[in-house]
């Protein structure tokens, strides 16, 4: 297995006049989780479709699992698994029949197929529902079956296109757990998401995609360092206390109306204890204390000038027109 699972250089894709991907460079080391984060329409799904051999790029060099995408698409296909945004399961088959079909298409022997079937049903908590028609499954069960089907062929590289969009919080956490377990087995995961928290929690490296360009890339920590640091916000009962506090913390910025003082600094325990000590030493009476650490939201805002979670961005209603054609 090569050390680089996915490498893309200068990926371009446009439909007519509209440029969807404008020179994307991506490198994902084997055995890691890479998250492509961005709002709807940023080009996430197009990227996955190109890397997963569904559509071809207008320009760019891509290697997946050591194979050139344009020269050896079938070698790439044999090494990858894709779980799309729209559940790629057959609604009229049962869960077991779906898995069996995948086993057949991967040309596993009958005993190997049965073994894999049982193992995946168990692992994805689908044993009870195995012989029910998928149309009767809940959203969370469908996603789990979807992921289980992707794993039948033991892929080296797995693409997950918005794997938790539309799931309730509990199913989402279950999915996260399952995704983490996959990496433990050594596979590489390429994940797209519009949820900051998801990228933050799962990914080793995160790339921010905005209008077809990567605006930043790095670990969650590295990205957060790109924006001005955090602060502690103190609220006081009256102006006198605020005046006093301003003398203790001369670098703070005060707001007379809200009676607050923003003291720059992180939310680390040691830093916080030092701050509390200084408050106690000066006998300052604080009504409220709030720690604000920069999150990816701030990063997105700082880099694009637009908030990432503007209304209509974080909630994914089923059936966006832009993705209707993605079939």
């Amino acid at each position: 297995m090569p050390t680089t699972a996915i490498s893309a250089i200068g990926l371009h894709k446009s439909y007519g006049d509209s440029v969807v991907l404008d020179g994307l460079d991506i490198e994902v080391p084997a055995g890691t989780i890479f998250a492509l984060l961005g709002p709807n329409g940023a080009g996430k799904t197009t990227t996955v479709h190109i890397l997963a051999t569904l559509i071809s790029a207008d320009a760019g060099e891509v290697r997946v699992a050591g194979h050139d995408l344009s020269r050896e698409p079938d070698r790439v296909r044999a090494a990858i698994g894709v779980t799309g945004q729209y559940s790629a399961v057959d609604q009229l088959l049962t869960g077991r029949e779906n898995l069996r079909m995948m086993g057949r298409l991967h040309h596993l022997s009958a005993p190997a197929r049965r073994c894999r079937e049982a193992e995946l049903l168990e692992r994805f908590d689908l044993v009870d529902a195995a012989d029910r028609i998928v149309a009767a499954y809940s959203g969370g069960m469908r996603r789990r079956l979807d992921l289980a089907m992707t794993l039948v062929g033991s892929p080296q590289v797995i693409f997950l296109d918005e794997p938790t969009t539309g799931l309730d919080p509990r199913s989402r956490r279950t999915m996260w757990q399952m995704i983490r377990e996959l990496v433990r087995d050594g596979v590489t995961i390429f994940l797209t998401t519009q949820y900051l928290e998801e990228a933050d929690r799962l990914a080793d490296r995160i790339a921010l995609l905005d209008r077809g360009r990567l605006v930043a890339e790095g670990t969650s920590e590295q990205l957060k360092r790109l924006v001005p640091g955090g602060h502690v916000r103190l609220r006081f009962p009256d102006v006198e206390e605020l005046d006093l506090a301003t003398r203790v913390f001369p670098d703070g910025s005060r707001d007379d109306e809200a009676l607050t003082l923003q003291v720059p600094g992180g939310g680390g325990v040691r830093e916080l204890r030092a701050l509390l000590d200084r408050l106690a030493d000066a006998s300052l009476e604080v009504e409220e204390l709030a720690v604000h650490t920069p999150d990816l939201d701030d990063v997105f805002l700082a880099l694009t000038g637009r908030p990432e979670n503007a209304p209509g961005h974080t909630e994914n209603a089923p059936g966006h027109t832009e993705k209707e054609g993605a079939r």
Partner: protein, 259 residues
């Protein structure tokens, strides 16, 4: 990709489609009901009068005359069902999944075609059984029945490839249900329900040269012992040509990128 994998993939896809057909019976019921209703309508409502126009053949004579037309209508509505099934399939993510797998790609469409031809043949058998129940009798030999069955299967094969292509190019499932509709009416504009000789000139010209007429005339010849003449070769040629056209069209639209 070895040949055994190709066959295995085709069988897997066929198995999938047969299961789907079985679990979604309402479409099959519709495909069965429409030709039977037309058969009963034409025999019991129009049969006496239309039969009188066929040299005083009467209702029983008209039943013998109309059956090949009804059979082709059955095949054509089967095609409509296939177009709907293919278009519905494309709205689901499963086809995208198949496209990202190292499988024998034509298997995806072949599974639909073989499944649909089997389904259509079963429906045709049921329709012919109803015709026999209401008095259809044929003096055909076993070989003639076999030849007739083969011709119907070949026609179903051609219509199915065409309808797979129609299902693939349709943007919606509704569109896929409308596109093959002209095929269902084609038997009317041929020798299916009345002899072409009774039609006005322009229509007669169309009716005599459209693909369904030689097929229906050949079926009639095989089942009723009437003259087949050049229609036999014409029927087979049309089926092969339409199959090739449908296959090329379907393949092209399936391999076209969707985004």
């Amino acid at each position: 990709m070895s040949a055994s994998y190709a066959i295995a993939d085709c069988l897997t896809m066929l198995g999938r489609n047969l299961k789907r057909l079985r679990r979604y019976p309402s479409l099959t019921v519709m495909l069965l009901a429409v030709p039977i209703v037309f058969l009963l309508l034409f025999v019991y409502v129009f049969g006496e009068t239309l039969g009188a126009g066929l040299g005083d053949a009467g209702r029983a004579g008209y039943l013998r005359y109309v059956l090949p037309g009804i059979v082709l209508m059955t095949v054509a509505s089967g095609a409509q069902g296939t177009a709907i099934a293919v278009a519905t399939d494309l709205t689901q993510g499963i086809i995208a999944r198949f496209r990202t797998m190292a499988i024998f790609r034509p298997a995806i469409l072949t599974g639909h075609v073989v499944g649909a031809v089997l389904q259509t043949m079963l429906i045709v058998v049921a329709v012919v059984a109803v015709a026999v129940l209401i008095g259809f009798r044929s003096g055909a030999s076993v070989w003639e029945w076999l030849a007739a069955t083969g011709l119907v299967a070949l026609t179903a094969f051609a219509m199915t490839w065409l309808s797979v292509a129609m299902g693939l190019v349709s943007k919606t499932v509704e569109g896929a249900s409308n596109l093959p509709l002209p095929l269902v009416f084609l038997p009317f504009l041929g020798s299916g329900f009345v002899p072409t000789g009774s039609m006005p000139t322009a229509l007669r010209w169309f009716a005599e040269y459209q693909p369904f007429t030689p097929i229906m005339e050949t079926l009639r010849g095989l089942l009723l012992g009437t003259a087949i003449g050049h229609h036999g070769a014409g029927a087979v040629a049309w089926c092969l040509a339409l199959s090739a056209l449908g296959y090329a069209w379907a393949r092209r639209s399936f391999n076209r990128e969707r985004s």
